[in-house]
C-alpha cells in the first residue's frame, strides 16, 4: 500500500444519507486532485434496509471499483455483520462502540472507536449528522485535509442556507478533531492532496442528461424507474434553465407516444427507462420506426426478467433492445462505457435520430448510470447539431413527398406549421406520400426504405474502440459499463504480471461493426466479458462474423465486476 490510493466504504441504515455522504466524500478527494470511482449498493427499500457506498481513491486514472477496502465505516451493526469481510487484513473498522453492541469477529484489523452519536449530541444536532462526523473522522484517519471536506460539504448544502452548511461542517470537524486526538497516526502514513487538473465527479446518467441538454433535447417523458430515476431528478433540476418540457406520464406507453408526438412536431425528444418500462414502450418504438420519427431512448439495464433486482446491475437487455418490436425497421443501438461516452454518444444519438429518422437506443445500466466517476470537463467546441433532412423553411412550394424513395433511405421531413408540407405520418404500411398501401411492390419498397438506413448508418459510424496492445495474441471483448473494469484489470495485468493485452470495445450493436470486429478478432484468442448469463455480445459476434469466443467471463449476480476480481478471472483463462 502506498499513500496515493485508498479504498473506503461506509454502511448504514437506509435513510441515513449514505448516498449523499458518498457524493460529498468523493468530491472532497476530487478537489484534492484525486480520481475516484464510487458506487452505492442498496436494496429496493426506503427505510431500514442496508445501504453502502464504496469509494476508490487514486492519484492515477481509475475506472472501476476494487476489493478489499482499507477503511470500513459502520453506522449500524449490519455493516459489521455484512461488510466486515470486505476489509483488507490490517484495515481499519471505524465505528461508535457505544451506539451498537457488536463485537467484530476479526482480529487482523484495527478498531477505531469514535463516539459519533455523542459528538453530534454535544453539538445539539440531529442524530443523522453522525454521517458528517463519520466523514470528518475518516478524513483525520486518512490524514487528509479537513478544509477540502468542508468545501465539499458547503457545495452540497449551500442551497439550503448558511446554517445548514455550518451545522454539517461542525459535525465533520468534531469527528475530525476527535480522531486527531485519539488516533494521531494516520492510516498507512496518510493521503495528502495531490496535483491534478480540475475534474468533474458525475454519474453516467448525469453525463447523458448533459449530452441531451447540449443536443437541444426539448421534450422528455419519464415514468419513475430505477436506475434512470436520477435522469429524472437531473432533468427536472435544470428543465427551466434549458427550456425543456419534462412530463411524468401515467405509464411508459404514454411516455414514448408523447415523445413521438413531440418529435413529429419538431422537438428533439427522449425517453428514459429500464427494461420493464421499455417492455411497455416496445409498441411505441415500432411506431417511431414505421413513421420515421426521430427518437432517443435510454434503457438503463437492471437484472430481470420482470421486476428482477430493482437496484442492482446487469447487461442482459442487449438482445431485447436489438429486436424489440414486430416487423422490419432499422434502429441504432449503442452502449457507452463511461461518463465521457455517455455525454458524447448521447449528443451523437440525437444527431443520428434526426439524420436517420429512426429510434436510437442508448443502453446503460445501474452501474454506469448511478456510480460516480471522475472525468475532465467535456470538450464541446466541436459538437454540431445536425437535424438531417428536416426542412426549416416555413413554407414548401414544391410538391412535397414525405416518404420519397432515396438512396440513403432517408427523405425530407416537414413539421406541422410548415405550409404546403402536410403529410400522413402513418403507422400503416404506406406509399411515398404516407398513403396506406397493400400493393406488393409498394410495400416492399417501403420496407426497403426503412432498412436501407442500416447501410447509411454503417457508413457513418466507426462502431468499435480498441484499447491497449493491438499486437497481443489475446484480445478481451466487451461492451458498455464493463469497460472500466476491463481497462483497470488490464492495467493490473500489465503492471503486476507483465501481461499486456488488447481490448475490443463494441460501442455500436446496431449497425453492428462486422468488418472492424472481424479485423480485430480473426486469428486471435478471444476472451469475452459480459454482465449477463447468455453472452449476448458473444452471440452477436458469432452471428455477424462467425467467430466464437475462446473463453467467456460472465457475471450475473446483480453486481458489477470489480477490477481486481476480473483481473484474477482473466488470469484464470489466459
Amino acid at each position: 500500500m502506498n499513500n496515493s490510493r485508498l479504498n473506503w466504504k461506509i454502511g448504514g441504515e437506509a435513510g441515513y444519507g449514505i448516498l449523499t455522504v458518498g457524493e460529498i466524500f468523493s468530491k472532497a478527494f476530487v478537489k484534492g486532485g484525486y480520481h475516484v470511482v464510487a458506487h452505492p449498493e442498496y436494496p429496493s427499500l426506503i427505510r431500514g434496509g442496508h445501504n453502502t457506498f464504496q469509494l476508490r481513491i487514486d492519484a492515477q486514472r481509475i475506472r472501476a471499483p476494487i476489493q478489499p477496502v482499507d477503511i470500513l465505516v459502520a453506522l449500524n451493526a449490519e455493516t459489521i455483520e455484512l461488510d466486515l469481510n470486505d476489509l483488507v487484513p490490517g484495515g481499519v473498522l471505524l465505528y461508535d462502540m457505544k451506539s451498537f453492541n457488536v463485537a467484530p469477529t476479526r482480529e487482523d484489523i484495527t478498531l477505531c472507536d469514535v463516539p459519533l452519536t455523542q459528538l453530534v449530541t454535544d453539538l445539539h444536532l440531529p442524530k443523522v449528522a453522525v454521517n458528517m462526523a463519520a466523514m470528518g473522522a475518516s478524513v483525520a484517519l486518512i490524514g487528509y485535509e479537513l478544509a477540502l471536506l468542508s468545501t465539499a460539504i458547503q457545495d452540497a448544502f449551500e442551497g439550503k442556507g448558511e446554517k445548514i452548511v455550518e451545522q454539517n461542517v461542525s459535525a465533520a470537524r468534531a469527528g475530525y478533531d476527535y480522531v486527531k486526538r485519539a488516533y494521531p497516526e494516520p492510516y498507512k502514513g496518510g493521503l495528502g492532496p495531490t496535483e491534478g487538473p480540475s475534474r468533474m465527479t458525475l454519474t453516467g446518467n448525469d453525463a447523458i442528461c448533459m449530452g441531451a441538454f447540449k443536443a437541444g433535447m426539448k421534450f422528455i417523458a419519464i415514468y419513475p424507474m430505477t436506475p434512470t430515476h436520477n435522469v429524472m431528478t437531473y432533468i427536472a433540476a435544470h428543465a427551466r434553465e434549458y427550456g425543456v418540457a419534462m412530463v411524468q406520464p401515467e405509464d411508459e406507453i404514454t411516455g414514448i407516444n408523447m415523445a413521438i408526438g413531440a418529435s413529429f412536431a419538431g422537438a428533439r425528444s427522449m425517453v428514459a427507462t429500464s427494461g420493464g418500462g421499455f417492455s411497455l414502450m416496445v409498441e411505441g418504438l415500432g411506431l417511431a420506426g414505421a413513421t420515421e420519427n426521430p427518437l432517443v431512448v435510454v434503457e438503463g439495464q437492471r437484472p430481470g426478467p420482470s421486476t428482477g433486482l430493482a437496484t442492482r446491475t446487469a447487461q442482459a437487455d442487449l438482445r431485447f433492445c436489438l429486436h424489440a418490436s414486430q416487423g422490419d425497421f432499422f434502429r441504432v443501438v449503442l452502449a457507452p462505457g463511461d461518463p465521457e461516452e455517455c455525454f458524447y454518444e448521447t449528443f451523437r444519438a440525437f444527431n443520428l435520430a434526426d439524420t436517420l429518422q429512426t429510434p436510437v437506443l442508448i443502453l446503460t445500466d445501474k452501474h454506469l448510470g448511478t456510480s460516480f466517476f471522475t472525468t475532465e470537463p467535456f470538450e464541446t467546441l466541436g459538437l454540431t447539431v445536425d437535424r438531417g433532412l428536416l426542412l426549416t423553411e416555413r413554407k414548401v412550394t414544391t410538391d412535397f413527398i414525405r416518404y420519397e424513395t432515396t438512396a440513403t433511405g432517408v427523405s425530407a421531413r416537414t413539421v406541422p406549421g410548415v405550409e404546403g408540407g402536410m403529410f400522413n405520418s402513418n403507422s400503416d404500411e404506406h406509399d411515398e406520400r404516407g398513403y396506406f398501401s397493400e400493393d406488393a411492390p409498394v410495400v416492399a419498397a417501403s420496407v426497403d426504405k426503412r432498412c436501407r438506413k442500416h447501410f447509411t448508418a454503417a457508413a457513418l459510424l466507426e462502431g468499435i474502440k480498441f484499447h491497449g496492445n493491438d499486437s497481443s495474441d489475446t484480445v478481451l471483448v466487451g461492451w458498455g459499463s464493463t469497460k472500466g473494469a476491463i481497462l483497470d484489470a488490464m492495467e493490473f495485468l500489465k503492471t503486476r504480471d507483465g501481461v499486456d493485452l488488447g481490448f475490443l470495445q463494441v460501442l455500436f450493436m446496431s449497425p453492428f461493426p462486422s468488418q472492424l470486429v472481424k479485423e480485430r478478432l480473426v486469428g486471435r484468442r478471444v476472451i469475452l466479458i459480459e454482465n449477463n448469463r447468455g453472452a449476448q455480445l458473444g452471440s452477436l459476434i458469432k452471428e455477424h462474423v462467425q467467430i466464437r469466443p475462446d473463453r467467456t467471463i460472465l457475471r450475473y449476480d446483480g453486481r458489477a465486476f470489480n477490477a481486481d476480481e476480473l483481473c484474477e478471472r482473466i488470469k484464470g483463462v489466459l
Partner: protein, 286 residues
C-alpha cells in the same frame, strides 16, 4: 368561412361501408374546420386504429396515424412541443375506452388543450364485429353468443370526474348539430371530449340509425345549464330511453400546456438549439 374542400385529399374517397356513420362525422368535421377557417398546415390530427382511424387518409392536414389506443398520448406530445397548433384526436370507442382509457382520464386531469372526437359505434368493426367497451350488456355477438356480461364503460361521467373541462355528445345523423358541437369543442381552451354516436350498419344491429334517431334529444332545447357540474354528471349518465346530445359540461381551468408554455418564449419545436451552453452544468460537477 373557409372552403370545405380544402380539407379533401384529391383523388381519394373513404372506404367505409356505404351508409356508415363515419361519413356524417367526416362531413361534420370538414364543415367545422371550414367554419373555423382552420389552416390545414397549423392543424395536427392524430388518429387511432380502426374504421375511425382510417379517416386519416381523407383529411388534408398534418396527420399522425398512430397506434390503437395511443392517439391521446401522441396528441399531448404534439401540443406540448408546439402549442400554436390546433391538435385534434379522431379515435374509436375501442381505441379510447378500451386500450386507451387510462390515457383519456390522465389527459382530462391535465386539462391539456386538445380535442378528442370519439367515433363511438359500440363495436369493433374493422375486425369484423366484436363487442366494444361501450356495447350494451346482454347484446349478443359471434364472439359473445351468451351476450356481453359486463356493463358498458361510461366515458362521459368518467371524463367529467377526471377533470375534463369540456364534455359533449354528438350524433353522426344530426350533422348541423354535430358541426356546431365540434366547433365549440375545438374553441374550448382545455381538454375536450366529444363522444359521437355512429351506427355501424354492418356489424352493430342494435344501435342502428333508427335506434339512434329514436333515442337522442338535444340538450340545448331543454334549457340545460352546461356549467352546472352536478347536473352535467347526471345528464352524462342518462342512458335509458332518451340520450342527450350537445354540450354536457364546460368549465374554464388553467391548462397543462400553458404551464409548460411559460418555459420558453418560442414553442419548444421552434427554439434554436444550435449553440446550447452546458459549461454551467459542468461547473456544478467540479
Amino acid at each position: 368561412m373557409g372552403d370545405v374542400h380544402r380539407y379533401d385529399v384529391p383523388g381519394t374517397w373513404p372506404t367505409w361501408c356505404p351508409g356508415c356513420g363515419n361519413f356524417g362525422i367526416w362531413n361534420a368535421m370538414k364543415n367545422a374546420y371550414a367554419n373555423m377557417d382552420l389552416a390545414p398546415h397549423n392543424t395536427a390530427i392524430v388518429c387511432g386504429i380502426g374504421c375511425s382511424g382510417n379517416l386519416s387518409y381523407w383529411i388534408n392536414t398534418y396527420v399522425l396515424h398512430s397506434l390503437h389506443g395511443r392517439s391521446i398520448p401522441v396528441a399531448q406530445g404534439i401540443k406540448l412541443a408546439n402549442s400554436d397548433l390546433t391538435v385534434i384526436v379522431h379515435a374509436g370507442d375501442g381505441d379510447t375506452y378500451g386500450e386507451g382509457l387510462a390515457h383519456l382520464l390522465h389527459a382530462a386531469r391535465r386539462n391539456i388543450d386538445i380535442t378528442v372526437f370519439v367515433h363511438d359505434n359500440q363495436v369493433y368493426g374493422l375486425t369484423t364485429g366484436q363487442p366494444s367497451p361501450t356495447s350494451f350488456k346482454g347484446t349478443k355477438w359471434k364472439v359473445a353468443p351468451e351476450g356481453v356480461f359486463a356493463s358498458p364503460v361510461t366515458p362521459l361521467p368518467l371524463a367529467i370526474i377526471a377533470g375534463a373541462t369540456f364534455v359533449g355528445r354528438g350524433f353522426s345523423g344530426e350533422n348541423k348539430h354535430l358541426i356546431e358541437l365540434m366547433e365549440k369543442a375545438i374553441l374550448h381552451n382545455g381538454f375536450s371530449l366529444v363522444d359521437i354516436g355512429q351506427p355501424c350498419i354492418t356489424f352493430n344491429h342494435v344501435n342502428t340509425w333508427k335506434w339512434w334517431n329514436d333515442h337522442v334529444y338535444k340538450l340545448d332545447e331543454t334549457g340545460n345549464d352546461r356549467f352546472d357540474y352536478e347536473l352535467a354528471l347526471k345528464k352524462a349518465q342518462e342512458a335509458g330511453d332518451k340520450i342527450p346530445v350537445g354540450v354536457l359540461y364546460e368549465v374554464e381551468r388553467p391548462t397543462f400546456d400553458d404551464e409548460y408554455r411559460s418555459l420558453n418564449t418560442e414553442t419548444l419545436a421552434h427554439t434554436p438549439i444550435d449553440d446550447i451552453d452546458v459549461d454551467k452544468l459542468m461547473a456544478r460537477h467540479l
